[in-house]
Amino acid sequence: MRLQAKERHVVDLGVLDIDVEFAKDEVIRTEVSTKFTRELIESEFVLAGLTPADWWSDGDYALALARKDA
């Protein structure tokens, strides 16, 4: 997720005692929130040295099981 400044402005972060200046159109990253497919996470298992073993899902969320083989 990113936020983009629509115009130049300054943000006072009081707790940190800093002012942060944003230029127009400047983008900040606020978080990484990756969504997966079964193929994606299982291919990443394989690349890491794990073998996909099972999968439980309701279509929106999933639990992926992988095994370390000999």
């Binding site: 990113r2 983009q4 400044a5 006072d12 990484v32 929130s33 439980w56 929106d60 095994r67």
Partner: protein, 212 residues
């Protein structure tokens, strides 16, 4: 975590429904839970684990918070008198090698936390998991899935938590910023969100979204 945060609900439902099957397929006698926190959802796996492994069952909650570990372990010790519990304070991005080596292990990384890693970090994390696993050990990872592109806005608007819960403050002028996403067609989520008042408030931007 908010009760309406749907991955939490979805994961809980899957664990309740398939916990027994997960333990069976894993063949594990030890459950390691990374980022265990309050271990609130763990009984869905501990019940079938203790039923299957009996006195050999071991639970290893891993968290950076000692107070969370103490609270969780104290509660589980009462609920599972025959279970061996070994709490481990560790940063899971640094010290997967500290996970104790009891029996056949199922390492759970739940809550969709892996969503917050960038691809290279994910690879490092999964590789470290593999490196620190013995043959036959398994990992169980909760992942949020890509949805039909037509669904996000509708689901977002229908969510129990209203759009204004994306509040911005600490001096951010909400009219000056827009939420963007790299999902094609959903670049701008919502403009002109609730403007905060007052000089002090929580700066809360996190609201999970339904796309990559």
């Amino acid at each position: 975590m908010q009760p309406e945060y749907y991955p939490t609900r979805a994961e809980r439902a899957l664990l309740d429904q398939y916990g027994e099957q997960i333990i069976q397929r894993s063949g594990a006698t030890t459950l390691v839970e990374l980022g265990s926190g309050s271990s609130e959802k763990t009984p869905a796996l501990l019940d079938p684990l203790t039923a299957t492994a009996g006195g050999a069952a071991v639970y290893v909650p891993v968290d950076v918070s000692v107070s969370a570990l103490i609270a969780a372990v104290g509660k589980l010790e009462q609920e599972y008198p025959d279970l061996t519990i070994h709490g481990l304070k560790a940063d899971i991005d640094q010290h997967l090698d500290l996970i104790p080596n009891y029996g056949t292990r199922l390492v759970g990384f739940l809550g969709g936390t892996i969503d917050n890693y960038r691809p290279a970090e994910r690879h490092t994390f999964l590789s470290e998991l593999a490196k620190n696993s013995n043959s036959g050990d398994t990992v169980l990872i909760g992942v949020d899935l890509i949805k039909d592109p037509q669904r996000p806005i509708r689901a977002y608007d229908d969510a129990a938590s209203p759009p204004s819960s994306i509040s911005m403050c600490c001096g951010f002028s909400t009219g000056d910023l827009e939420l963007t996403s790299r999902y094609p067609g959903f670049r701008t989520l919502r403009r002109g969100m609730t403007k905060s008042t007052g000089s002090r408030c929580d700066c809360r931007l996190k609201k999970d979204t339904w796309w990559t």
